[in-house]
């Protein structure tokens, strides 16, 4: 082994330079002259590489040279790491800042808490599974899939039990959908409370989910089409979380999902089974799903009376608020970031609607006085995230950035003033107001509200 002086990393021994079949030949037949020659060539090449690395001197730099081009970096003159060094691949160490984070002081226990997705540094329309936000009500659990069951009961001909093996045998569908907590942006109703888009909008993720349509499972159980109006979904964790689901909507596109972005669900996201209710707030996507009950009246569960109810100015709470209405946010540049120089920038962000497909997104750089259309990335999928872009040249002036989405139903995302005029500032849930980022003359981006 040799030490690379620059990186302080151990270099693999020369054996690693030998072709596998040569090693096998030698160990089977011993060394004959031909093989000795091959072996010598391989070792010589390895020795030369090591010597070159050890003796590399900085070539003379010309005035306009970029030293990162002319002085070959260590990774260009060394052997890379072997396969399966990480059997499950990990992000580059240079991406270590891009992780889920908690908002300090938001909750007093880590089991009933939230971690937020780092939207500011993500691309496209899919959230990496390991960065999908977390919201647990009584901690997360590791469930043995062999011992997990899904029960379907209530207004059905035959209550049924499925094993995971059976569910994975059934006809499946894969669909891309967003998942947003009803309380996303809930900290911002009254005033600016958090610095970055991770904390203001980071209870938002999107994945390709794979599973069995709820309609198929209910048909299999023979549900009562005359009486049934609702479904109860229940988790297998300690909280045995329950939520009432709109059956008519669920028959359209809800699924019992086991797959997320091509692999099984992550434990924090409900392994091995969760409900996917496209367009509906995350709390209804019950994780660690163990039971679906068909019913004719809602259950008024804890998270339908004490939480996830929207307080109106007249003192009443709106109950069973479920749909996530159209919303958009610029993710870069966004709060807490800094523009280092003037010139071209690709303003980018996300738009989505719980009622269907995004029709258009508009961007304003003057606090909402003037709007121009953003470019939408295809495909435009219903109840999924849509990535938008907006070409922009920053000239060092103060800027108030906003985005505004209109969905296919014709609904346009409201301004903060329009939203609080109707709902006040105390409803906690379903804040889909237009977000403003202020870029100051020094390039700093800050979360602000306008009036």
């Amino acid at each position: 082994m040799a030490l690379d002086a620059e990186q302080g990393q151990l270099q693999p021994a020369p054996e690693s330079f030998l072709a596998k079949d040569l090693v096998e030949d030698i160990s089977r037949d011993g060394i004959d002259p031909a093989r000795r020659k091959l072996l010598q060539n391989a070792l010589a090449a390895a020795a030369a590489a090591a010597a070159a690395a050890a003796s590399m001197v900085a070539p003379s730099l010309m005035a306009d040279d970029d030293p990162d081009i002319v002085n070959l970096p260590s990774w260009t003159r060394s052997l890379g790491k072997p396969v399966v060094a990480n059997p499950y691949g990990q992000p580059s160490p240079y991406e270590a800042n891009i992780v889920r984070r908690q908002s300090p002081g938001l909750t007093r226990t880590d089991q009933s808490s939230v971690s937020f997705t780092p939207l500011q540094n993500l691309f496209g329309m899919i959230t990496p599974s390991g960065l999908h936000f977390e919201r647990h009500h009584q901690g997360w659990v590791d469930i043995d899939p062999r011992r997990h069951r899904l029960m379907i009961n209530g207004l059905v001909e035959t209550p049924l039990v499925f094993t995971m093996e059976e569910l994975l045998r059934m006809p499946s569908v894969s669909r891309i959908h967003f998942l947003e907590c009803g309380a996303n942006t809930g900290l911002e109703w009254g005033n600016v409370a958090v610095p970055t888009v991770q904390y203001s909008h980071g209870m938002l993720s999107a994945s390709e989910f794979t599973g069995v349509p709820v309609s198929l499972l209910l048909d299999r159980a023979g549900f009562d089409r005359q009486r049934a109006t609702v479904l109860l979904a229940e988790g297998a964790d300690g909280s045995s979380m329950t939520r009432t689901i709109n059956l008519e909507n669920a028959l359209d596109d809800a699924m019992v999902a086991y797959g997320q972005n091509g692999e099984m669900l992550r434990p924090e996201n409900g392994y091995p089974l969760r409900l996917v209710v496209p367009g509906v707030q995350g709390v209804s996507w019950v994780k660690w799903l163990r039971r679906l009950e068909v019913g004719d009246a809602p259950w008024a569960t804890k998270d339908e009376v004490a939480h996830y109810v929207d307080l109106m100015p007249d003192g009443t709470h709106r109950q069973y608020t479920s749909i996530q209405e159209a919303k958009s946010v610029i993710t870069a540049p966004s709060g807490g970031q800094k523009l280092l120089k003037q010139g071209y920038y690709d303003i980018t962000g996300l738009a989505w609607s719980g009622r269907g497909t995004v029709e258009k997104v508009e961007v304003s750089v003057d606090g909402g006085r003037n709007w121009r259309p953003a470019r939408l990335e295809k495909p435009l999928l219903p109840k999924a995230l849509t990535r938008f872009h907006f070409d922009w040249v920053w000239q060092g002036d103060e800027v108030l950035l906003q985005s505004r989405v209109t969905d296919r139903t014709g609904y346009t995302q409201p301004s903060r003033a329009q939203l609080i005029e109707a709902r006040g500032t105390r409803s906690i849930y379903h804040n889909n107001a237009i977000q403003t980022w202020r870029i100051s003359g020094d390039g700093e981006v800050h979360n602000v509200q306008l009036g």
Partner: protein, 342 residues
Amino acid sequence: MSSWAKFAMLFLTVLVSTSWVMAMPEGLDALGRPATEHEVSAWDIDVRPDFAGLPPGSGDVWAGEETWLAQCASCHGDFGDSNEIFAPLVLGNITEEDIASGQVASLKDPAVTRTTLMKVPTLSTLWDYIYRAMPWNAPKTLSADEVYGLVAYLLNLGYVVGDDFVLSDTNMVETQARMPNRNGMSLDHGLWSVAGAPDVSGSSCTTDCTVGTTVTSSLPAYAMNAHGNLAEQVRDWGPYPGIWTEVEGEKREATSMVVEVSETALSGSGCTGCHQMEGQLVGPSFDAIRTRYAGQEHAAYLRDKILNGGAGVWGSMPMPPMPAVDDNALQQIVAWLTSGEE
């Protein structure tokens, strides 16, 4: 007709799958098997607002108080008013007028802390939730009678029922009629169904729109680092590095525990549900445990307590057995607890 029934009528259509018309393929009816009645009853423990699903039983305020002090008070306070770990359940701010009208008037007042009892319209919810999910660290260990007692105690704390009240499956309906916020919920909104009508609409103006562009709210300078140094929370080599918000000499205390035991070992083993570094949570603080059990001679004892649980050493709240703790984590935790180091 109940308000729910009217609400449901708004969206009532013949239930047919529209987007995913997936016919039942041949052979599919062999997947899944009938659930036995006994299996259904083991899982179907939900209680609806009409009390469908409610098991028989009863409990009085005094029995409820006893269970409360043993099982609930460490998180919620002796009188359900603690704000230490969870939002207060009861604060004694419900009036006779609220109980008469079925709508808690102080919900209109932003200065009043919203408690659970101020919001909950349905008695069934209290019963259902306590029975399915409490206590916090040992859900589903309470008997039906204990839950009746606990609900009676909670209602008594909120002046909904008297001191000698007995709650049972036979008087739930009449007790529901005294729930302070039973008329406080509204279904008059468009957020239940995909087809619902929105209550707010944005503007379609694109040019010279009349909007306020004065900044009315932003984070004050002193709060910029409240979430940690923003420079360390974004990609630091891209077009938008983070603002350096940490002030020299005022390093914010790390929110994570700075200890010689990995956070994964503690939280992954379920310890941090009840224990924190300093100060009593549900169980004693790690600091207190480490002080009392400094020294290798306590290792076997602590190991046994973690695996098999115990009670009465630090108070009435029992420590549940934690048999699922991984061997490596257990070794690390015990070594750390007995290390006696700061």
